[in-house]
């Protein structure tokens, strides 16, 4: 066992006090923030869907969504005279274990992008073209489905695993 603690500067017993005002004040702030967080989640959170899931759940089309797919490089276009960019994406599985079983994300992206039977979804985005928006990049888009069946993305995030880190050895 470790050595005993020197006794001597043990604290004086505290006198009984009314409920601690600091605890009450702290709790109030905590509760207020929690409510803010909860309301904000209700207003701002998006459902994360794969493109296949999006197709079969039309009831979610009028909601704020986040979807993930692989970019088809040939379809990237800039609409002249505006900052509008359009491109097509196709489905990739959302589940990590499935991706792992199919040989990792780079293989999954390549397979999906070269699959002739895949059904593409058109994405519309306004802004500067991100450096990583290119063929076989994984795109994660936040936005809404439009009546014409395209997806209007407010946020666009891109991942390029094959080039970023663990490139295949060949």
């Amino acid at each position: 066992m470790v050595e005993e603690v020197p006794k001597g500067n043990t604290p004086k017993p505290l006198t009984k006090t009314k409920p601690n005002k600091f605890i009450i004040g702290g709790l109030l702030i905590f509760v207020a923030t929690s409510i803010l967080v909860a309301i904000s989640i209700k207003g701002n959170a998006q459902y994360y869907l794969t493109i296949d899931e999006l197709r079969v759940s039309p009831e979610k089309w009028n909601q704020n969504l986040r979807i993930s797919g692989v970019v088809l490089g040939d379809t990237i276009r800039l609409v002249p005279g505006s900052d509008e960019i359009t491109f097509q994406v196709v489905n990739i599985p959302g589940d990590m274990n499935t991706i792992e079983a199919m040989g990792g994300i780079a293989a999954v992206l390549h397979q999906a992008a070269t699959d002739p039977k895949a059904m593409p979804l058109t994405i519309i985005y306004h802004g500067v073209k991100p450096d990583l928006l290119k063929d076989e990049a994984q795109a994660i888009m936040t936005g809404r489905m439009q009546p014409d069946g395209t997806f209007l993305a407010g946020e666009l995030l891109l991942k390029c695993p094959s080039k970023y880190q663990e490139a295949p050895l060949n």
Binding site: V2, E3, E4, V5, N9, T10, P11, L14, K21, F22, G25, G26, I29, F30, T33, L36, V37, S40, I41, G43, N44, A45, Q46, Y47, Y48, L49, R66, S68, L78, P80, G81, S82, D83, M96, I99, E100, I105, G127, V128, K129, P130, D131, L132, K134, D135, I140, T142, E155, L157, L158, K159, C160, P161, K163, Y164, Q165, E166, A167, L169, N170
Partner: protein, 676 residues
């Protein structure tokens, strides 16, 4: 040869670190000074050993030994030497090795300090630091080894392995893939090491806290050792975050500095609890309260450092940082569980011992302000954790994946940040022990009146933007309060001692440099906030295609397209460079050259904006990568970022203030006796 040497030393260091843990525990059990001594020595020796491993790795990267899988992936003949060296932390196994190396250095110093100042702490500091080191070395040795080489099997398959597979032969690729073009930037030299220094730095205060718990020391001895480390770690982590932000601003061409990307948030979280800790630790030293809280905070910070590393490496987050998902996630998770359960057990065991010796009296006292500061930082931590874990949690409990983005973070953290700023403004007016609400009011009215000038001027001179005006008024209030308090102390001294104002300023600052260093940090934060307000409330942007010698107008600036040249560098990078001039009121004030570098090998472009920068604003011009780019017409995206430079200036001021606060005090006669 170098491979087996590096690998051999790596394994040896792993064994030594495990031995140190065992010897330290056995030594305290058997009261053997000899065993503890050897544990101490073992700890110290891990640093030179790992230094050799790092040097070998750097040598392999610098000389292009592409038969090593790590070198093949991270280094390239096309990269300059300094980038090939930074490739050391460009990939997973290298960065974990780098982490371990920094930790071994910090551990060696910490063990020496413990031995000198609090001898009974020594074995426990050894146990914590060497257990952590062993964990990292275990991964680097057995799971993701940077010394693995590339082999061709007899069936033509190419694999990477530490040992030669039967019937295979070694492959010597003529060149490596190299870092992603986006990482080929001087930012790569400083941003990751600073973050790692911050992360590693927090291991040491944690080890002192654990040592105090195990040995049952209820006083602030551990904190005296830990506080310097915490402050240094906090500063480095802060510098790392800001450098990352600066790098993103200058390279990615999106005109922003912080995107609430999950990996950014994951690195911010330990900084938040670390900030709470550097505040509350000073309260324990001064008032002997918050003892349990401080231990809990440092445990939390350490767990979050590991958690942050785990999150970025586990692949469960969608991030632009896009690290590959790897198998080390579960190992990190296991490590966090062990650390968390062990420290929680220790805290509960010593619960009674850690009772506060003092008590808080007033709502308006300085210690109460620190308490609310801590509460708000913990709330920010919880908000950020909610944000990054929401997809995982909702998937687990509700089997839907809910995610949140920047809008959510702004909405939730905004009010908390504002409350923190307000608190920061009041703190100089409070006193230890108690402050009456009345005296607070008496002190605040003068600076408050002065600060009203700012919104007044804004209303009269600029377009109405109430949120922006409110935020700027808050900032001017804090500045006014802080400067009034500082100025008052200087003025009183100058009059009392009959000194020159500047001499008095230096003397006042020197006499209580912890406090005034803190004030300077706060002024730095006001500047940072100024930059944030500028972008959040006043940013403007436009994207236009213009012909030669035509102009884009934005916020009183005129950007005129002059020329476009396309060229290729010797190492195969295609560069499209536009020349534009920036003028205001008919006067040309700058010539910029926004660029697009295209790396055909990676099929990737890198945007390099042209930036006209002044204290008032940045004009940030991006050459948009699209047709029609030709000499006749080109597309530009122009951002007007007011006040953004104060973000970077404030960060520098913050670091300077922290250094001032860090300088050890000259011990007063009474304190010296106590320490010996």
């Amino acid at each position: 040869m170098s491979a087996s040497l590096g690998l051999g030393i790596l394994v040896l260091t792993l064994i030594i670190s495990l031995y140190a843990v065992g010897a330290a525990i056995a030594g305290t059990r058997m009261h053997s000074a000899q065993l503890i001594d050897s544990a101490r020595l073992a700890t110290t020796i891990t640093f030179p050993l790992l230094t050799v491993v790092i040097l070998i790795m750097v040598y392999l990267l610098a000389t292009g030994h592409f038969e090593f899988a790590y070198v093949y992936r991270q280094a390239s003949l096309q990269m300059p030497l300094y980038l090939n060296i930074t490739a050391l932390w460009g990939g997973q196994s290298g960065s974990l090795l780098f982490w371990a190396w920094l930790l071994s250095g910090a551990s060696a110093i910490a063990v020496r300090q413990a031995w000198k100042h609090e001898k009974p702490f020594t074995p426990w500091v050894v146990v914590v630091t060497m257990f952590t080191l062993a964990f990292f070395l275990l991964i680097v040795t057995f799971v993701d080894n940077p010394f693995a080489r590339i082999w061709a099997l007899s069936d033509g398959q190419v694999v990477q392995s530490m040992i030669q597979p039967a019937g295979s032969f070694l492959i010597y690729p003529p060149n490596g893939l190299g870092l992603n073009p986006l990482l080929r930037d001087p930012g790569m030299v400083f941003h990751p090491p600073m973050l790692y220094l911050g992360f590693v730095g927090f291991v040491i205060p944690f080890s002192f806290a654990m040592a105090a718990l195990v040995t049952g020391r209820s006083d602030s001895a551990w904190l005296r050792l830990a506080s310097k480390w915490a402050l240094v770690a906090w500063v480095f982590l802060g510098i790392g975050l800001v450098l990352g932000s600066r790098w993103a601003y200058t390279v990615l061409g999106w005109g922003g500095y912080w995107g609430w990307d999950p990996v950014e948030v994951a690195a911010l979280i330990p900084w938040l609890t670390g900030t709470a800790f550097v505040h509350s630790m000073s309260i324990q030293e001064k008032r002997h309260i918050f003892k349990r809280w401080n231990i809990a905070l440092i445990v939390l910070t350490f767990c979050l450092v590991i958690f942050s590393t785990f999150l970025t490496r586990s692949g469960i987050l969608d991030s632009v940082h896009a690290f590959t998902q790897s198998s080390i996630g579960p190992m990190f998770f296991g490590f966090i569980c062990i650390v968390f359960i062990a420290s929680l057990g220790l805290i509960l065991w010593r619960w009674k011992l850690l009772e506060s010796e003092g008590k808080m009296e007033s709502f308006f006292s300085r210690e109460s302000a620190f308490l609310f500061n801590n509460l708000l930082f913990v709330l920010l931590t919880l908000i950020c954790l909610t944000g990054i874990l929401l997809p995982v949690m909702s998937d687990l409990f509700n089997s839907t994946k809910l995610t949140v983005g920047p809008a959510w973070y702004k909405q939730t953290t905004g009010p908390v940040f504002a409350a923190l700023l307000l608190l920061m403004g009041i703190v100089p007016l409070t006193a230890w022990g108690s402050t009456a609400a009345k005296s607070l009011g008496k002190k605040i009215w003068k600076p408050a009146v002065v600060s009203l000038l700012v919104p007044l001027i804004l209303i009269l001179t600029t377009a109405l933007n109430w949120a922006g005006i409110l935020a700027l008024w808050l900032l001017s209030l804090i500045t006014a309060v802080t400067l009034f308090d500082y100025g008052n102390a200087v003025f009183l001294r100058a009059r009392g001692q009959d000194e020159d104002i500047l001499v008095a300023l230096a003397k006042v600052t020197a006499r209580d440099h912890h406090r005034y260093g803190g004030y300077i940090v706060h002024i730095g934060i006001v500047m940072i906030a100024l930059g944030v307000v500028g972008i959040e409330f006043y940013q403007a942007q436009t994207q236009v295609t213009v012909g030669l010698n035509s102009s884009i107008n934005l916020e009183g600036f005129q950007v005129t397209y002059k020329n476009l040249t396309e060229s290729a560098t010797a190492d195969g990078v295609d560069i499209a460079r536009a020349d534009v001039t920036v003028s205001r009121n008919g006067k040309t004030i700058a010539a910029l050259s926004p660029r697009r570098d295209y790396y055909p090998l990676y099929q990737q472009s890198v945007t390099v904006p042209g930036v006209y920068s002044s204290l008032a604003e940045d004009l940030y011009v991006v050459l948009v990568d699209w047709q029609p780019i030709s000499a006749d017409a080109a597309t530009f995206h122009v951002y007007y970022n007011p006040l953004i430079n104060w973000f970077w200036i404030g960060s520098v001021v913050m670091v300077l203030g922290s250094i001032l606060a860090y300088i050890p005090s000259r011990p007063k006669a009474g304190e010296k006796k106590e320490e010996q």
